[in-house]
Symmetry: C2
Subunit: 349 residues, 2 copies
């Protein structure tokens, strides 16, 4: 008698998951990951968890931890198949988030979620993360790549990072030193950094009518839309490191999602601020997007950084000196306004 | 003269992003997040980075960091709109990953990426993470919610976590003590934990022909498919904590993606193992999935945990004693095999 008919065999591969591709991606990125390891890293790539020696981090060390993604900037990367720059943006975004609390980076972990795993793409993204970590003296201690058919459409992916840094407790920037009369010193961004991309993409596609990210961006000599919109999120660690323990540095705000109005109040410890929008050097990318999208001015300042990547809150008497030191070191800066007793952001213009 | 006709105004909301919904979700989850804060947490919810005092963590403290997601288990949560249990699974998965290196948890950060932000859903997921963190004495130090239309289809989301734990350097479990003749002691899983879901979902939908996750799962009294497949990823921290500094505990493997064959070799330090699959108590969920999907046996053992959540590698002379201590504490365990000199996993049956 014949055996009853069995259904065909189902495997993980049939369900759209390719374990080998993830391993191959990790193999390709291993060398660039190992280059991030300093003497504090104790385990090799591929352990269940990364090991980081935490002895002698300071007298009263405080760990600062932050998690973030790069938002829908990643969709432009997916669209044109350039995966290294978003990794750098992610790393530099997280460094800035820790920096505004006074911290310098120790280690980083990344996560890539993807609809269909392309080992070349993942290797490029992870290597981008690793190279940026190495540039800023931070270990890429761990990571995970997950192939999740259905959660992500084919061709889409998300890139998430977590950074752990350290600051001496006496030098934590928590806003307690902020007082009325403090001066706001802005540092320029370089384009959108990692915020406002859902709106920016819609404006480029629908209002500028640009269907291909490789076409020129209006008003930018020789730069494609992808070039302009994939510009690196600037890292302010190196220019600001000399100032982190200065008593005159009262607080810092990293201008990300929510813009100046969403981020500056977070560090003012109950104070407000008078801010001149005209003091911020205009950048063509914002002028073009706001014009083409007819984005209301307040909305533009809530969605985009509008040209300011970081704001320092400085003791009034020290502000000019610090601005000059920054200029001498090649970092431009502009006075944006002052801290007020009254809560909320008051636009001067 | 009439002004030239301007295009209609575009806002972030038009581009599918709702900043207020993210803030509302965080507000709803704030209380449960604050409940995770111990005396080492220095900043409140909503800072750029979480602050964690790292003084006096030990003589030679080593930080153990691990990042992970919950895979496509999340699609079942999305499908039935139950968002708290995947948060707990994520936390407990990460705790186990740090535990196998000997570490106990300090703090956690979460990331939620979503196509369209539903503040109720995000609040439920974050609260699920927070409650699980509190249960295991870990601070939920930070997190991020990103609304990313297009990266995630509407209704889909991803949930990612990063854990930082600590272990005294002398007690790091790095496999160096593993030797031939060591005994493998398995601890039972409770269902799929967080791996193999792409295959499991396909089998349930296509081979069992079950179109609704609320329908009964074959062979499970009173449990729906969602109940069975959303069972919590077990956490082995509490049962194993008393053994972490025992010299007889040579190594541990957390059985996740890749199954026994993918995870056990990672900790054997160049040794191999002889493993009895029949020693692992069979669970109905695996029997049903393998049968309905006609999944080849080796493939099933590579995709699913097949009933073993954690494997301890123990000095032979201490294995029985430790198994009995575990049993006395209410933790079942089973001898699965032994460590061999020859590399690779050799199935005994």
């Amino acid at each position: 008698m014949a055996e009853p008919c069995k259904p065909s065999e189902l495997t993980y591969q049939d369900a759209g998951v390719n374990i080998d591709a993830a391993e191959s991606a990790l193999d390709q990125a291993k060398d660039s990951i190992r280059k991030t390891f300093g003497p504090r890293v104790l385990a090799d790539v591929g352990s269940f968890g990364g090991l980081f020696r935490a002895d002698n981090l300071g007298d009263e060390p405080v760990l600062v931890a932050t998690a973030d993604g790069v938002g829908t900037k990643i969709r432009i990367a997916s669209a044109i198949g350039r995966f290294d720059t978003v990794g750098r943006c992610l790393v530099q975004h997280c460094i800035n988030d820790a920096l505004v609390q006074g911290a310098t980076p120790l280690f980083f972990l990344d996560y890539i979620g993807v609809g269909k795993l392309d080992s070349q793409m993942v290797a490029e993204a992870v290597s981008g993360v690793a190279v940026a970590c190495a540039d800023h003296g931070m270990a890429l201690l761990g990571g995970e790549t997950a192939e999740m058919p259905g959660v992500y459409p084919e061709g889409e992916f998300d890139l998430v990072g977590t950074l752990v840094g350290v600051v001496e407790r006496a030098h934590v920037l928590d806003g307690t030193r902020v007082q009325a009369g403090d001066v706001l010193l802005g540092l320029p961004s370089d384009g959108l950094h990692t915020n406002g991309y859902s709106l920016a993409r819609r404006i480029v596609e629908e209002r500028m009518g640009i269907a291909d990210w490789n076409l020129p961006f209006p008003g930018e000599e020789g730069l494609s839309c992808a070039d302009v919109l994939l510009k690196n999120h600037l890292c302010y660690l190196e220019p600001l490191k000399p100032f982190l323990e200065r008593p005159a540095l009262h607080a810092m705000a990293h201008i990300t999602g929510g813009g100046v109005i969403g981020n500056l109040p977070r560090i003012l410890n109950g104070h407000g601020a008078s801010v001149s929008r005209k003091s911020v050097p205009a950048q063509n990318v914002f002028t073009q997007l706001v014009e083409a999208g007819n984005v209301p001015r307040d909305e533009a300042w809530r969605v985009f950084n509008m040209g300011v990547g970081m704001i320092l809150v400085l003791a009034a008497e020290a502000a000019d000196g610090i601005a000059q030191e920054l200029h001498s070191a090649g970092q431009s800066a502009f006075t944006m306004g002052t801290v007020t007793t009254e809560e909320g952001i008051h636009w001067l213009d």
